[in-house]
Symmetry: C2
Subunit: 290 residues, 2 copies
């Protein structure tokens, strides 16, 4: 079964209003006076990280990607549960884990440690509480809203190239930053928000489809960290973990951000890039095997 | 690094009062007027399940073991987050997952689905809410308390033998039952409680050590489902998921249960079995490679 088919089948057996979290999104669970935000990311050696990569960086990324999911909900972390398969250098993993958890002020609550015989597989569940209700989703864009991003794209792309070549700064790929403070500051004001993990254009198309609008993006307004000739690539590359959000047209966001487009009535495609319709068939997003 | 050494190192970086959940126990997290109970179990092909086993049974067991952790806390499930690596028969896994989640009234809230190249590795985080406070732990046994178990041991042992031989009833091994209702009924009355996942004697020794007492167990009082000549084995085999608990000496539990011993002042060993001291060095518990 394909990943997408499996997720589609999972959706059918979920049926719970909290179960937004089956693909990339978080679960949102009302409990007493609180709203819990839950997310789980799994990573496999050879698929989500390279076999020879520093386990401290792998630990950092496992934590940061989950924290980024919380950031997009304006949530603050309550803690994490770790599913750990023993690997080549567990001490290095622990060092990176501790550093990341301290950085994000996310306590380690529990988990499970197992031995395994194949490639290492890791899982992390992050639990947060919403700081603002309603909790932002990707489905709230209104026609006329402006579309913003908190920072440039392309840094992780350059970082992976640096890591592979052994020259240059690979930190953006190895040590992504989750924007928890920015997400909390934005949450009360946004009509929709998500983190950009799989590529700006692909993630924007998901937001557009969830909101039943078309997002018109001005490619030259998108900040990039690469040279101009790689702009198209940078817009399609993932793992930068900036926040993508929409607000009413005249609203000025309370954090540093760049206006890159606006929402219009749902049309022939989820995205209009410089006036050209684009959808998933156009290869707009992140492929893990690239 | 060994599993135990890794867990020991994790404990050092945890430091949070909720972080009881690093080995087999659950995390307990106060949030507003609620107490959250969190547990995570990971399972690897070839270690925790056989390569050719029915994926529906694997899904059931993954859910049931997590639910049993909640049961030991007297918690009711709020939902689960699934970390799933695509495997040989994902449709069968989904069928077992749906059956188990319906059985335990535990909604699927979210998760992550990944492709992987090696043996299948699965993770499940269960989230529950405490129905009773203080939440039972394994550390509360008082000297003089009586020790009880909710049902017989040895059923999973016979079940695995049936599965391997292809004859007889393997359901106790394939489809363990988590005792959520019993756990909730017991929680207000127990001084300590845990589920028996790794063998009665090993788990009792953990309870004894956590509570700084010695648990004196009368082996003939322990209900078994095997023939008498396999009593010693049954007391050491795991995966039956009965609840082990202590109550004041004259208290009669509100659910079906068997009195198998009592707590005395901490002595030379965590367990006295029919008057003989026993500890972990005596091979009293579950080995995954048996």
């Amino acid at each position: 079964m394909s990943e997408l088919a499996f997720i589609e089948a999972l959706r059918k057996i979920a049926g719970h209003p909290a179960a937004r979290g089956l693909a990339d999104d978080c679960a949102v669970l009302e409990l007493g006076h609180e709203t819990l935000i839950l997310t789980h990311d799994a990573m496999a050696e050879g698929v989500h990280f390279l076999a020879g990569q520093d386990p401290a960086d792998i630990a950092w990324k496992l934590v940061a990607t989950n924290m980024s999911d919380l950031a997009a909900k304006g949530a603050e972390p309550l803690g994490v549960m770790l599913g750990y398969m023993l690997g080549a250098d567990d001490a290095r993993f622990l060092a990176g884990l501790e550093e990341a958890l301290n950085h994000y002020n996310a306590p380690l609550l529990g988990g499970d440690t197992i031995a395994g015989s194949g490639p290492q597989v890791l899982g992390l569940t992050a639990i947060g509480r919403a700081t603002c209700r309603p909790v932002p989703s990707r489905a709230g864009v209104q026609v006329g809203d402006s579309l913003w991003i908190t920072g440039p794209v392309g840094a992780a792309m350059l970082g992976l190239e640096a890591l592979r070549s052994g020259t240059g700064d690979s930190s953006a790929y190895r040590r992504p930053q989750a924007l928890l403070a920015e997400g909390q500051a934005l949450a009360p004001h946004v009509s929709a928000m998500m983190d950009v993990s799989d590529g700006l254009l692909l993630d924007a198309s998901r937001m557009a489809r969830a909101s039943k609008v078309t997002l018109a993006i001005d490619s030259t307004a998108v900040p990039i960290v690469t040279s101009e000739d790689r702009r198209a690539e940078a817009l399609r590359w993932g793992e930068d973990y900036e926040l993508l959000f929409t607000v009413p047209p005249t609203f000025q966001p309370p954090v540093a951000a760049f206006r890159i487009g606006h929402a219009q009535a749902g049309g022939e495609a989820p995205i209009m890039l410089d006036g050209q319709p684009l959808d998933e068939a156009d290869g707009i997003g992140y492929q893990h095997d690239r």
